[in-house]
Subunit: 179 residues, 4 copies
Amino acid sequence: MLTAARELVSEVGYAKLTIEAIAARAGVGKQTIYRWWPSKGAVVFDSILALSEGERGIELPDTGDLEADLKTVLRATAAEFADAEFEAPIRALQTEIINDPDLAAIYREKMEAPMREAKKQRLRSAQRAGQLDADADLDLVLDFLYAPLTQRWLERSRPLDDAFADALVEATLRAFRPA
Amino acid sequence: MLTAARELVSEVGYAKLTIEAIAARAGVGKQTIYRWWPSKGAVVFDSILALSEGERGIELPDTGDLEADLKTVLRATAAEFADAEFEAPIRALQTEIINDPDLAAIYREKMEAPMREAKKQRLRSAQRAGQLDADADLDLVLDFLYAPLTQRWLERSRPLDDAFADALVEATLRAFRPA
Amino acid sequence: MLTAARELVSEVGYAKLTIEAIAARAGVGKQTIYRWWPSKGAVVFDSILALSEGERGIELPDTGDLEADLKTVLRATAAEFADAEFEAPIRALQTEIINDPDLAAIYREKMEAPMREAKKQRLRSAQRAGQLDADADLDLVLDFLYAPLTQRWLERSRPLDDAFADALVEATLRAFRPA
Amino acid sequence: MLTAARELVSEVGYAKLTIEAIAARAGVGKQTIYRWWPSKGAVVFDSILALSEGERGIELPDTGDLEADLKTVLRATAAEFADAEFEAPIRALQTEIINDPDLAAIYREKMEAPMREAKKQRLRSAQRAGQLDADADLDLVLDFLYAPLTQRWLERSRPLDDAFADALVEATLRAFRPA
DNA sequence: CTGTAATCGAGACGGTACGTCGTGTCTTGGT
DNA sequence: ACCAAGACACGACGTACCGTCTCGATTACAG
């Protein structure tokens, strides 16, 4: 069922997705879907969440060079955003998150929190290595790194190229360099 | 018609908004709506856009103290995000922008561009006053100031208080202080 | 549903009858009507047909006096045509029959044929009693008796009184008296 | 406009005929149609009536042999009913007449009355020639001749062949032969 | 093995809204 | 001054899905 949901989001888009279509594709009665999820959003949400369950134990590279590592990671993130296959589901996910506080909370807990923690680990390592201000608010650092990237992708305002990723890292590190 | 659309978005939310309801509220036939807009999204989009048409000639305060001015502006922006009346329409707008590239383009041109230019004016003034790196990429500066704010609001991940606004300004200015 | 259709034909007339009104009156979704009938005409047709399903086993009086019996029957038919309650549905039925060959075929099979057969029985009895030409084409006899009556009613060209009914019977019997 | 109406009745049938289509076909504004006729039925009615205005001064053949003359006329009428081109408009006309008493009255006055009078002329001639009962109710005679024909055509219950036309004439003349 | 439950697919149901079409009225611009 | 063109408020169309509700038929378990 989750697979059917994911496929259909990619094929027809979130707005035109119907529960009947999911049921038909999955070879399942509608009632069975309603038994497990309260809404279309919840199904789609879970279908994407199920995907990310697979990628356990994210860990960021730690070569000792924070700037290089962050550029690697941000360039990869930007490239991922450009992947057509993931575009539709992630935009669907964002749509849900914006409009449904409950799903937003689950999203933060199940998907964002682990990622954020992994990233913070890398930043703490940098703090210990004296490459980052020891007093820096790490949540703020992560926002500086990722929020502009995400926003430009969502609004399609500008291409997400390597230069942009690099500029983000450089400016962020200037803002939070050790005292 | 645009007024009716705006009111209804606030009252029932974007997802539950129907064209029939807009037509009824506006005392208009459905066909008349379809004659002018291709979709529900377009109507809502225009209804919000029409709002901002009113606020002509935005200009940021320029007391000579960039940090103080930016804090004032960002605190105001954060407060605006907290205003219940604007919340529903703006979330609706974001939903549209995320999912419809065409509307996103119009949004950038009609709403974002003028705001962005006004902000850049203030930043250029600061560059002339030696309060900001003369070589700074002003688009990037604006992303640093606004993207984290917007993202936290959209995802409801953390309260948008004055401290957060101040921290954004301070970190951004550290990143782009004059050489 | 059929009851609702019948009532509404009587109330507002066939031309102003809407499927939505039938659905509303019957407390039923429109789709349910469309699931069972292809058109408004078919619903109305069935609603009238269902009525006549009730009156099983029609039999004409047979007192031994053909002329008297036929006058009784034709006067009754004329009176029935004058009944306001049946007028609207029967006119609706005629409208359908005229314009839809398929419904016309069903009408002949389901409604007209049994009536016609019952009438023929009475005529055959009269033939055996020497009151009617043994070689008479009974379909033609029935047309002579009923077609003028029906036509005058449809076109509202003249009142359907007893004298007219009697005249029809007398002339018909003159035309088909035994050799 | 009347021409456009008549063509469209033949092409799409009365039920699917729209005033907008008539206006478009006639190269005329809708308002102009509404200025002259109160309803779709009235337009169609007039369009057919206009046709018959052409055929001035109908007169039935009078060879001196009533039976032969009537058979000629009824066979011709039956053939006319079979003409595909006239079928749609005449059925449309019947539909109007059945459901609208006002149009029915106009129809009787403008179209039926002249025809009926012409036919009566021929019958009176026959009465003078001793071929028809001098006391016969001529309206009734005409009903006997035409009503069965019309009814079978409307209900499509049986083919309208020459044999049927002949049988009608023969039976009618038996019913009304001179005393 | 067999009878009884629980579960599930299928899809009918009462509804709501869709986007389209036609109505009859009103307005506009060109002749 | 007229009239084609067509916008308008309105209402019904026939369709798509909604979320709820029976239906069998197919399992899985108990006796």
